[in-house]
């Protein structure tokens, strides 16, 4: 019995961790900027491409293979530093206070542009670079061989939840963010530089997306179309948890991860349906998500 449950549980936890990275940035950006970033999935896949390229470079130069772990993290920072401020300044800022239709369309335009940019820069072949995964090896858990890298993923996801919570509750920047989320005009009136907060929050969202892409690359590789697939999955998770709720996104990714793994074990053809079916059911009953509320907003 235990032998059947443990791999199932670990599989769903690792799958949940990967989904969580994609969803948490989306929900953070929505919470602070009140913009639904349809291009979020593209930033995820760009993070993956950059990380894969960096790891391949390290491998080709015969450098210390452990550098590829640094490369994973650094490529996420790199993508966030390039895309975060530029995209927020040029496009997203223009949509503040406009209708959802405009916000969705502007970011959809950005999504189309980023998808083609990736194709032009990285080509259409898929990248597969699993050095980080191989370095960590495997563990034998009660007779089931398990990849250590997946445990690292789970730990990283927990670290992100704790880290974000610390950032928001206990740092100056985080408190300023909370103030902006609670009442944008009031925050501006007491002298908070909201534009700076928006840029920071957006860049943090991009970082989390790119980190997710970078961490996912060693396990599943990366190919064109990943951005579009990730986008809608991240969307489903963020919507289930309640848009703007970070802890909600964590719980929702657990639900979706478990639903997917269960579907794979029980009825494999329903694996892709599970996340959207869950999203549909939750949204029909609670359109603001499991942890969201219609009136009160918090980070």
């Amino acid at each position: 019995m235990l032998n059947a449950i443990i791999p199932l549980l670990l599989d769903s936890l690792a799958s949940a961790a990967l989904i969580f990275f994609a969803a948490v940035g989306l929900t953070l950006v929505f919470s602070v900027l009140r913009v639904l970033n349809v291009a979020h999935g593209s930033l995820y896949s760009i993070g993956g491409y950059v990380a894969a390229s960096a790891c391949l470079f390290i491998a080709s130069r015969q450098m210390n293979p452990y550098l590829s772990f640094v490369a994973l993290l650094f490529s996420a920072v790199f993508v966030a530093a390039i895309f975060g401020p530029v995209v927020e300044r040029s496009l997203v800022r223009w949509t503040y206070g406009k209708s959802e239709a405009v916000q969705i369309l502007i970011t959809f335009g950005l999504f189309l542009m980023l998808e083609d940019l990736q194709r032009m820069i990285f080509g259409v072949q898929s990248y597969y670079e699993d050095t980080p995964m191989r370095l960590l090896g495997t563990t034998n858990l009660s007779g089931v061989v398990y990849l250590n890298y997946q445990i690292v993923l789970i730990v990283m996801a927990v670290a992100v939840v704790v880290g974000l919570r610390f950032l928001i509750r206990h740092t100056r920047t985080g408190r300023l963010m909370t103030a902006v989320v609670a009442d944008r005009e009031m925050a501006q009136a007491v002298g908070i530089d909201t534009n700076r907060i928006f840029m920071l929050a957006f860049s943090l969202g991009v970082f989390l997306a790119a980190l997710g892409g970078a961490l996912a690359t060693p396990t599943s590789g990366i190919a064109p179309g990943l951005g579009a697939d990730t986008m809608v999955l991240a969307f489903a998770v963020a919507a289930i948890g309640g848009l703007g709720q970070i802890e909600g996104a964590a719980v929702a990714s657990l639900i979706v991860g478990l639903a997917r793994v269960l579907a794979i074990y029980v009825a494999p053809e329903l694996d892709a349906v599970a996340p959207y079916a869950a999203m549909l059911v939750v949204l029909l009953i609670r359109p603001y998500g499991l942890f969201g509320s219609t009136s009160v907003r918090r980070v």
Partner: protein, 307 residues
Amino acid sequence: MRTILAAAGILVIAALPLVAPWLQFVLTLAVAKGFAALGVAVLLRAGLISIGHAMFFAASAYGVTFLARLGVNDFAVLLAVSVLAAAAVGAIVGSFLVRYRAIFFAMLNLAVSMVFYALCAKLYGVTGGTDGMPVPIPTIFGISLGEAAFKQVLFYVSLMLIVIVGAAVHRYLDSPLGHALSAVHTNEIRLEYLGIPVWAVLLIAYVISAALAGLGGAIAGFAIGRVVPDFAFWTASGHLVLVAVLGGIGGVPGAFIGAFFLELLHSAAVTVTDAWNLVVGAALIIVIMFLPRGFYGFFEREKASAL
């Protein structure tokens, strides 16, 4: 004046394949997308953005193949029944979804369409999985035509449908029921106070928009000759919204202007660059920022709906 312009536009499009036969397929596809975009535009008038209308587009195309498999082989019957099927799906889905607004409406449409997409892609035995299913060449009132002749008939029938359906949708949008849509966008509560049931107004709009998307999907299915789950993927839905917004949601011609413009530009652009999405994405952003009423804004007399 605008009627003359519209008539001239349709005549030019009807004549184009005589000059360049390869354009016929491109233009038929443009008509198909134009119908679907018109459906999206109807809802956009009420301020509701649907990132899921490709589902109705695909549902009706799948409907055609299922009917054909059952032995129905008449073009008119296939077209009519599949559009009715899309409208029926729209009525069921819409009755749940028109209670929601803004981002929740967009998300729920996305969720429903992605469930549909995933089912189409995974239920290999029923839908042929990601390979899709072939759409057979139907007979037209009992006359069986060759492929080339059928595609020609399809093209001219779809142009005729633009006129008939376009006029009907124009009448609808100009009726009190249609004007109620922009009133929902402006102030929904006031509309309720006037004794107009917003729920019914939106449900009717939803069914009409689903039927329009279905009409487009059936035409596209016949033109392409194959229906695949990607018809229903969320990026396809996004493209429909894009076409509607590029063309402008101020009137019926907007959706078709957007569709013809995009398809013709696409055919021209592939000879120069393959970064087509880059061009379209940039165009979308520029149009939203600087031309909120779309290309149709150039032809409008009075101030009409914008996003």
